[in-house]
């Protein structure tokens, strides 16, 4: 009964496996729940995967790879696509020579995110085709389809998944690897890729033509299918919602959409005609229902209360029953907290003691907002601590302004804090500013990924290292301090007090490796020492 080729894979692992089987030459991204495991798994399978400093750079690197004729994969969480949206909108115009698949891992319900934006809107806004798998088998199969579409229409494809697709394990039967990709080679196409207005205007027309062709192709695409059922109830759905629908309404006829931009409107209209009642079941924004209604097709949507959070089987039953009564609240579990031995305890205690106004950022240390510290006053997006802190300093009365501090982690600083630091040097507030970089030598919150400040690549091999204090000094900041927060010394506390009183620009780097990976860090360092020693010997050999 058990076939040897049945694998139990998460959606992330299935995407990685398909990328490997399809000959993807380069994967790049920035860690972010629930997308992180895609590149980690791709690397474990022998693929060329790398972390970029942020999602924008990752997308640009993969655009370059796809301009060179390669198959390229770019991964990020939903908010990462905000950062990468600038290149996305224009690579839609230029198109690609190889294949470019952009994975957006959305987080409805915010299991680990600061918002629950619905990135299906990006497919419409940027004008790129979008595929939405509903389990790991489809995540695997749709990757091949995405690559075929990208290569055939020379267009980037948005591959939209959600937390429950990324992190659910379902059975996958891999297929035999298909034809090898052609070897990368540069072909000049100045009018196609240099988006000055004169070349961009025709490029926009080409994009709309491609989308019109894709819409026609989608009408008969195998990526959408109908599950037969009674004509009393029809349901149009996509992604993970399809699975909840099949369980909540096994009697219904279901149009399951896998290719969700541009939509197959003729197929949808025909389906709606064949059923007495048609309900659109989708998580998050009313994306499908609005598009279908705009096409003049009458369908029911969900009540606004179901726009919040993720869907599940009971919620789908409620939507189908038009149940608007309040939903049962889930009993609160135990919230996460800073690890007991975390060095950031000392930092947050000092911030509390000095009654600081703290512009915070995204990472483990955001947990400093909870009891017992409650020592963070804002958290907006990656890198925002710098700009928000500076803005507060500029407008607050001096007695308050002098207490404003920006707090950011090492990986987040590399991601998008550096430009904030440039802003600090360029537009310094009258009473200076204090930036604290919490440097634990890893991207801890997402599961300890490397970044340019660790000097190690995605697979922990030594590489070039960005030294944070050197970078800050090179920008002309005179007060740059590196300190190891330790219990009982009071050193961090004194340093913070000095910097707050100085009325100058100050950067305090609180450096101590995350306790959860102390052992691994030691192994990496030892490996590097052995490697260095070996290099020295061979270099000095005659």
């Amino acid at each position: 009964m058990n076939e040897p080729n049945r694998l139990l894979l998460s959606g992330d692992e299935a995407i990685a496996l398909a990328a490997r089987h399809a000959g993807v030459a380069l994967g790049a991204g920035y860690p972010g729940t629930p997308s992180t495991e895609i590149l980690e798994h791709f690397s474990e399978l022998g693929g060329h995967a790398q972390w970029s400093p942020n999602e924008k750079v990752a997308l640009e690197v993969t655009i370059g790879a796809a301009f060179g004729g390669a198959r390229a994969l770019c991964t990020m969480k939903h908010v990462g696509l905000n950062v990468a949206s600038d290149p996305l909108f224009t690579v839609a115009y230029t198109g690609v020579s190889g294949a470019l698949i952009v994975v957006s891992a959305d987080d409805p319900g915010m299991a680990s995110s600061q918002n629950e934006q619905d990135n299906r809107r990006y497919a419409v806004a940027a004008g790129v085709p979008m595929l939405e798998p509903s389990d790991s088998q489809e995540a695997y199969d749709f990757m091949f389809s995405a690559i075929e579409i990208s290569e055939r229409w020379k267009i980037p494809v948005l591959f939209r998944v959600t937390t429950r697709v990324c992190h659910s394990y379902t059975v996958v039967r891999p297929r035999a690897a298909n034809g090898a990709p052609r070897p990368p080679s540069f072909e000049r196409d100045i009018r196609g890729r240099v988006m000055i207005p004169a070349y961009a205007r025709p490029a926009h027309r080409r994009l709309r033509q491609k989308l019109a062709e894709l819409q026609e192709w989608n009408e008969t695409s195998p990526l959408n299918h109908i599950v037969e059922g009674g004509a009393a109830l029809g349901i149009i759905t996509s992604g993970i919602s399809f699975m909840h629908v099949r369980e909540a309404a096994p009697e219904a006829r279901v149009l399951k959409l896998g290719f969700t931009h541009p939509l197959s409107m003729k197929k949808i209209a025909q389906f709606v005609k064949g059923v007495a009642r048609c309900v659109v079941i989708e998580e998050g924004d009313p994306y499908l229902v609005e598009a279908i209604r705009a096409a003049g097709i009458p369908v029911e949507g969900k009540a606004d209360m179901y726009r919040f959070g993720e869907l599940d089987v009971p919620r789908v039953r409620r939507i189908l029953n038009n149940d608007l009564t309040p939903e049962p609240a889930k009993p609160p579990g135990k919230p996460p907290q800073l690890c007991d031995a975390c060095q950031y305890h000392i930092v947050f205690e000092a911030l509390r003691k000095h009654d600081c106004i703290v512009a915070g950022d995204i990472g483990c240390y955001t947990l400093g907002v909870l009891q017992p510290f409650e020592a963070i006053d804002s958290c907006v997006c990656m890198g925002a601590s710098l700009g928000v802190g500076l803005g507060l300093r500029h407008v607050l009365p001096p007695d308050q302004a002098r207490r404003v501090v920006s707090v950011i982690g090492d990986s987040t600083f590399i991601h998008s804090g550096i430009s904030g630091l440039v802003e600090m040097v360029y537009n310094p507030p009258p009473n200076g500013h204090v930036l604290i970089i919490l440097d634990n030598s890893t991207t801890a919150m997402t599961g300890h990924q490397e970044h340019p400040g660790t000097g190690r690549t995605l697979d922990h091999e030594p590489t070039g290292k960005v030294v944070l204090e050197d970078l800050a000094r090179s920008l002309g900041i005179r007060r740059v301090h590196v300190v190891e927060p330790r219990l009982g010394t009071g050193e961090f506390d004194r340093l913070l007090a000095d910097c707050l009183e100085s009325n100058e620009l100050a950067v305090i780097i609180a450096r101590r490796p995350c306790i959860l990976i102390a052992k691994q860090l030691k192994q990496y360092e030892e490996a590097r020492c052995e490697c260095d020693a070996a290099t020295t010997v061979s270099a000095s050999a005659p």
């Binding site: 299991a111 680990s112 369980e247 996460p336």
Partner: protein, 175 residues
């Protein structure tokens, strides 16, 4: 369509909740079932509540166990019983650390495996399939300890009530 078996495993970060669901899903896969496993990672890594859902049967659709439909609720930490009780169906089985004699376990870390042993007594998979999954799921050096813990959970204290049949007469009270 035969109904799927629904299992929810709950505990705190670091207790091996997700490792437990890994083993459970693997043994169901080995036994030839369709199986789905769902978990929420991210903030849970910092000592917060962690739950994992495993569903297996002839065909499984949603990866998430619907509230009030869990056949088994396996809880690794006593404080996590009440927050997750609403997941159990009225006739569902609650398995808590009381189900295994803590003093007989090879070490504290094997509690998750011992509780899987207690759960296994209710499930159709063969003992050999469980042991295969345990061997595959951990480094070889841990196998003997895990095997011992699993068998204590599965066979130990047969005379005593190892699990409590929980009656949840009014599910509304648990919301």
């Amino acid at each position: 369509m035969t109904k799927a078996t629904n299992i929810v495993v709950a505990g705190l970060g670091g207790q091996g909740v997700l490792k437990g669901t890994d083993i459970l899903a693997d043994v169901a896969l080995r036994a030839g079932y369709d199986v789905k496993k769902s978990e929420i990672k991210g903030m849970s890594q910092r000592g917060g509540s962690v739950t994992g859902d495993v569903r297996f049967g002839k065909h499984v659709f949603s990866p998430m166990v619907p509230a009030g439909e869990a056949d088994f609720l396996l809880v690794l930490e006593p404080t996590q019983v009440e927050p997750h009780r609403y997941m159990l169906r009225p006739t569902g089985v609650l398995i808590t650390p009381d189900a295994v004699p803590a003093d007989q376990l090879p070490n504290k870390k094997t509690l998750n495996v011992a509780l899987l042993g207690a759960l296994s007594a209710h499930l159709p998979m063969a003992e050999a399939q469980w042991l295969d999954a345990l061997r595959a799921g951990f480094a070889e050096t841990f196998f003997d300890g895990n095997r011992k813990a699993f068998l204590i959970g599965r066979h130990g204290q047969k005379a005593q009530a190892r699990t409590k049949k929980e009656e949840v007469p009014d599910r509304g009270q648990t919301v």
